[in-house]
Amino acid sequence: MDRNPQKVIEDQLLLQLKDVLLREDRVALQELRSNLEDPVQLEQRVGPLIEYQLGMLRSNFPEAYYNVVDKMIQARLKVSQGEIMDTIYPVLGKMIKKYVQMQFLVLREELSAQIYLTLNTGLIGRIKYAVFGMSKRDEAHILARAKTAKVDEVFIIEQHSGILRGSASRKTSIDSDLVAGMLTAIKSFVEDAFKSGNTDLEKITYGNHSIHVFNYYTCYIAVVVSGQLTAEEEAFLNQRTNQFGETSLLNILRSKSDNVNLLLRNKLEKVYFFDDQEFPIKSRNAK
């Protein structure tokens, strides 16, 4: 702090000057303060102002805020794609979401296949192989490729009651009626326990097997697959199943035939077991 006597005097003069100059303002300030502290008075004075501002905001919103909101949305889109996907999802329908997911998967697989090829063929690959032999990862990759996924069984099951309407199977498993019943029970349980909108159970995976569930109004199709499906194969399975589900299936179920069971089996065999061997789901075969 400055102890200079000259400066102290100056400061005092300055204070007096301020006092003289600001006296009027002080009175006004006092008034203002009392206004502020009295809620009734405050309300009376501020209320109309807020109303007015709100009105302005309402009528001028687009012009005044368009840019800001636009920027906010863009920023938000960047950080929370998943969240937005969830919000849009019920509106656009799950088919679109599925399609988008599938496209991402296909893309990813193509990319990793590309990277794998680049890393393992050509000079680098050959040197790696010559020096280290085949790595565990390479082995796993090749094995996974070699083991083609295939459809083992297909069930057409009535929604809710779990009654089996038809099935085709490449191997004899336990009683298909029971499988259909238990599958429906599990499906009911899952859909009931995690109910959120119209979410249906779509896939169950266990070990190297998966059950793909396709829902229609009165029935659902359960496709049991062994082996790992590539995204491309899964897309193909979905496409093929939906094609069948939306045409032949409905026709057969609507027909008053006594042999719905048999008709369905024949059709299912054609749709899923089109290859003599172990009806693999290779899109190449059908293209």
């Binding site: 009651s161 779990g162 009654i163 009683d175 009626d177 019943g181 238990m182 349980f189």
Partner: protein
Amino acid sequence: MLSKKIILTGSLGVGKTSLFNQFLYQRFDEKYLTTIGVKVDKKTVMVNGRELSLLVWDIAGEIKQDKVPRTYFLGSSALIYVFDLTRPTTYSNMLEDLKYLKMITPGVVIRVIGNKIDLVDLEKLNDILDKVPATIDFTTSAKTGENVENVFFSIGEELLDNA
């Protein structure tokens, strides 16, 4: 062959699972019942020369019916409501339960079963039956097997008549 879904329901401990096991082959492990709350089994019955396939769902007991997941009831053709003749708490909610069940599964065949008849003296039976608020269709014993087949048979008969 015609197939129908039947649901066993009623309070905890009344003997649903025992009745189920008495009537069916038990092809799934008991753990299914505790983990997902339901177990399904099948039996083919011959009713007046016609075959009918019954898919019976045993659901884990709850005190009140509206606690059971609603989806389990959907698509069923018949419903067996079981209570324990020796425990009044298992039939005190009966009217309310039946009303609820009829509402969520309109048009289904319903059988009301008083189980554990083997534990009840014949003199006491009439007193009990007086106290039960609804009409009883069968008294059964899952222990001795008394009347168990008849319950399913009578359901099969009515379902074939309606079919």
